[in-house]
């Protein structure tokens, strides 16, 4: 077993353990913190696959953005520090069966796909290559989607302000 395989198993064990802890803890704030560690572990897996840029985005957006949003929403509730009530048995069964169903579907796809081993070089996924394609205005460039993204973000910004201001006025 090579060293990178050992690192992979350690990091994925961290992701899985923290993911399970985030599901099973009954303190909601701790669940958010465990989810944060789990997402950092996923960034570690991206780095293991040499996807530095994706790993940076994972930390920037998921760890730095989404988790902050989740923690904010937890603090909007009355009972951020309280222990949640024990889940109903019915819900445990329903959740477990849904999770099992998801696992079966994923494993089914995984075993049915004939993965081909190839010696071709993969696509260049460095930040430099992404930046070049993003700003390229020639035939195969992505400058148009790049500018459209700014409008998408603007629409999201305006939308969330409209909704939130409406809620505040109530």
């Amino acid at each position: 077993m090579s060293a990178s395989t050992i690192i992979f198993y350690i990091v994925s064990a961290l992701v899985l353990v923290f993911g399970a802890m985030s599901v099973f803890t009954r303190k909601i704030f701790r669940a958010a913190i465990y989810l944060l560690f789990s997402l950092i572990g996923i960034a570690g897996i991206y780095i293991l696959m040499n996807m530095d840029f994706i790993a940076a985005l994972q930390v920037l957006i998921y760890v730095g953005g989404i988790i902050v949003l989740i923690i904010f929403s937890i603090f909007l509730t009355h009972q951020a520090g309280d222990k949640l009530p024990k889940p109903l048995f019915k819900r445990i069964v329903a959740g477990a069966s849904m999770a099992a169903f998801g696992l079966i579907v994923v494993l089914g796809v995984f075993y049915k796909t004939a993965f081909k081993v190839t010696t071709e070089a993969g696509i260049d996924h460095s930040a430099r290559s992404i930046g070049r394609q993003m700003l390229d205005y020639h035939h195969h460039g992505y400058v148009y989607p790049f500018e459209i993204v700014s409008f998408l973000l603007l629409a999201a910004l305006v939308g969330c302000i409209v909704i939130a201001v409406k809620i505040q006025k109530k």
Partner: protein, 116 residues
């Protein structure tokens, strides 16, 4: 070789943290004093719990922050190649940021960013 050194660094990092906390816990004197349990050593005494309910208006700050966080994600690959592309890249990013600046102006006008 690279992975071996990362693995070694990982183990050293864990061991260092565990040693520092474990030895500190073992070797230190433990004399209980209620003064030590306070959050601050000077200034006002704290009141109530830290688990207060936030005003709903602060959620907007988080949402606006997330939007501009995503914007930063696009600025990063742009910054890497800015020097080699030059003026065109500059015009493209000015347009990109200008559109988002309109959003910031809108948020300011709707008083979404004013202090509660």
């Amino acid at each position: 070789m690279g992975s071996v050194s990362i693995l070694l660094l990982m183990f050293c990092g864990f061991a260092f943290a565990a040693l520092a906390i474990g030895l500190g816990n073992k070797l230190s004197l433990k004399r209980y004093n209620p003064e030590k349990g306070e959050a601050y050593e000077c200034g006002m005494e704290t009141q109530g719990t830290t688990w207060v309910q936030f005003h709903v208006g602060y959620y907007l700050f988080a949402l606006v922050f997330l939007l501009f966080d995503v914007e930063i994600a696009f600025l990063y690959p742009w910054a890497v190649v800015f020097k080699e592309i030059g003026m065109v890249a500059f015009i493209e990013i000015v347009f990109f940021v200008l559109v988002l600046f309109l959003g910031l102006l809108y948020a300011h006008k709707k008083k979404a960013l004013s202090w509660m």
